[in-house]
Assembly symmetry: C4
């Protein structure tokens, strides 16, 4: 099925880039992981003024090297995939694009500050390389417990928000602008800071009544933290119990091979055709 | 049962306002929900001085529009209900009244600051529209678990309060007024701030003995947070277990229809008479 | 068994003071409860300077009234009990004495500041009146769960303390005195503040390395809070499960009657003799 | 097997130092425990400037006494053990060495500040004396629950870290250097401080958008604390349940005797040979 040499070369590159089973694929993933972490550290160091002043050239050159590496990788991904449009418009495709272009834009318009944020998106690429699904597989039970308790947690957070708006308005009226409660939104912000037991202290009540209500909010926050914990914990315990008699024949080993046509991953071992698009898989 | 045309018109309006099953009822609820959220945002924006200075007229006119809308709704609710006194003196009747009048009062006496608080009460009206009972239905188990552990949580909070008063008095004696522990109530307030792990830092111990006792309070607070969490979590787990073999025939579907006489909600589907006052329901 | 009139009078007073079953006993308890709460509020108000300046005479007279009331009660308790020495040396006997004398001492030596602390001990008397055992009865399961997990929680807290000493020493070396880490004990205090997620902010790391280690401590504290919660929650869940098939005939109703000789409480209903000293109980 | 008198003397000393079963062994452990705690208190007091100024000579002499005591103990441990190299290179061997030499080094190079840290390592020696394994035995279930949930907690902490880096970068862009968010690493540090609900308040957002995102981070942190708690709690509950029908004949009593050759501990009672190296144990 790979009679043309050009095709064969493409397929080989595809296997290196998209799969982690072969030695070359593993090597590629490790190099990419190092490049991503290095680029994140570069973004961080660049933001430290004293460091940037001293090593500006080093940072600039390093950033160019990483940008070029990422550009090559991005183009290689487009070339080797059968449906490039699907890759470009996919979640990781967009992340790859956005984390590559900032340096090129800075060439045109000068170093725009806000572009650093885009570069921080590179961090999300780590998830792809680690193919975290495999790691998370161990905690599948946890995610399903979280999903099961999603509705309850939403109601809980909604109630917390309403509590914060009402208490925030009250504190605004009681404390007033002298104590830092300059507006209702700021008061609501303070109320969230207090209820979640963060307590920055940049704004703090000074009147007796304000401190009394603040104490109420704190005890409330201290008490209701039990609610999400109780929900997750109970759901998790129950899931654990019901899932016990797992038949070993029902558990299926998934590999990290990805379809060269639709990029779907987690195929069953020994699968010959993609479960998502029917394309023949390269074994 | 609706022979007079005037009666029929009233019944129609009643259905629109009080029920969410019909398309008109749903539309009314959505409009009201938007109006409430808009009014809350208005209250918030008005409290931001710089914003109020710029857009005072816009805020004033918007507030009048919402006040008039709410007034019409309030009057419509009184007219269409069979027992208006019961509605007016009900919880939501009072909320509706209090969240409508502030603007009228400000016309008479000028913009009194504290009236903003009343307007924030509009937030409580959200619960009626969302007919949150339905949403909370999903977490009925949670509320019943909370109810079951209410007595234990009360004893727990009572013990926490006594701890805070005793430690607060102690800290007042040790730290004294120089460190900000100006009186016993303030010390108790500080103790609550510390025990609940909020920790504003506006008041903090400076003497060695004070810091030692503060450390004790913190570790205590860090440890006893386990108690409410453990209670809720365990109650919830048990409830889950016992409630499992629910007979599907025992579960009853409740609708959001409300009795035109006594406003009771959550009637059983196909119920013909109100379970609370015996009034015939409009189907 | 109460042939002498003087004896009978004493027995009657004993029943009023020590028991809560009779109407007179209940009335006595309610009055005492109000007196205790009033006295605590007095102690608090006295500590507020501006309030004390204005209402000094009122506070002084109120304090004398309460002191005299408590003195009469203390003497009555000694007279009516069969073994006064046992009462005087008991936990509540000492509390009663310490919470009564401060005002008398202030008569001799002037208002000594530290005596206010003794008066705050009155709060502990609330426990006796409420005969909290009855309330706690509902959460007996909780206390037994706490007892069962005591050993584990002790090991946990010991490990937390050692962590704090080691990290505290480290932070003292890294941050030094300029950042407020003036000595190792202060650093350890800061470490406890951070690990328990209180975070006052009066002392905060400023160096990069210090902030990095601080972040580590925080994540550690955020993570290990799961440990005590998990212990209590699990112990509680298990207790719940095992205690379910409680035979109703095994549950015994205890009353709040107390033995006139040894003050032991929680006798079984219809008990004729004290379970602790064998003295005949007055029914 | 101890025919030579010199051997017998060594064996006796070995039993005193390494074992806690005999009266002499217990006495040795108690003395060592006191010495360690005293030395830790010394290190702490020395760091308090005002205290060091007053009692410098006392602190110096005390430190020398403890250092000499520890030196003798260290040499005794080397002599009495059959394989000294194994002891010296073991975890506790290195701790013993590092916690003894600082005073000798200060003799050569003067009081180097950073050496205090090494002395704080003495704290780790407490674990050996307490032979904490015995105490922890009670909470073996807890540690095994922690081990079982290690993978899930790692994934959780990894996700938290990535969240902090992304939110930290965002806050750096929004707040900028005026609010204290001077660089991305500092922003990430602030984000960890906020997410873990510590909230120092040395850095706090001042812009409306910054406060809004900060509120999101707090609610996130308040919500996701449920995750590790739920994991540990559920694992612990399940472990409890499965471990219930423990056959008493399966439980084995371990003693604190340690092999004179390889230092392995926790031998079974009545064991005659070391389970680790096969050396005959002294009974």
């Amino acid at each position: 099925m790979s009679n043309k040499p050009e095709q064969s070369w493409k397929r080989k590159l595809h296997d290196i880039i998209y799969e982690a089973e072969t030695p070359e694929g593993k090597l590629f993933d490790v190099i990419l992981l190092i490049a991503i972490i290095a680029s994140i550290i570069l973004v961080m160091l660049e933001s430290i003024k004293s460091f940037d002043d001293k090593f500006h050239n080093f940072l600039n050159i390093s950033e160019w090297i990483i940008t070029i590496l990422f550009s090559i990788e991005y183009i290689a991904r487009i070339i080797t995939v059968k449906k490039p449009i699907k890759y470009i418009t996919s979640f990781y495709g967009i992340i790859d694009f956005l984390s590559t272009i900032p340096k090129y834009i800075s060439l045109l318009f000068g170093g725009i500050h806000a572009l650093a944020a885009l570069r921080a998106l590179r961090l999300l690429r780590v998830f792809r390389i680690l193919k975290l699904a495999r790691y998370l597989g161990a905690s599948n039970m946890l995610t399903s417990a979280l999903k099961a308790s999603k509705a309850k947690i939403s109601v809980f957070l909604f109630a917390v928000l309403i509590l914060c708006i009402i208490f925030g308005t009250l504190m605004y009226l009681i404390e007033g602008e002298e104590s830092g409660f300059t507006s209702i939104p700021v008061s609501v912000y303070w109320c969230i800071v207090t209820l979640t037991t963060v307590g920055f202290g940049d704004i703090a009540p000074v009147t007796a009544v304000g401190q009394f209500i603040a104490a109420l909010i704190m005890i409330l926050g201290y008490g209701i933290i039990a609610v999400p914990t109780g929900i997750v914990s109970a759901e998790y315990t129950n899931r654990h119990k019901n899932d016990k008699p797992v038949n070993p024949e029902d558990t299926v080993h998934l590999n990290s091979q990805s379809c060269s046509s639709c990029l779907a991953e987690n195929h069953k071992d020994h699968a010959e055709y993609c479960y998502s698009c029917g394309e023949k898989l390269s074994v």
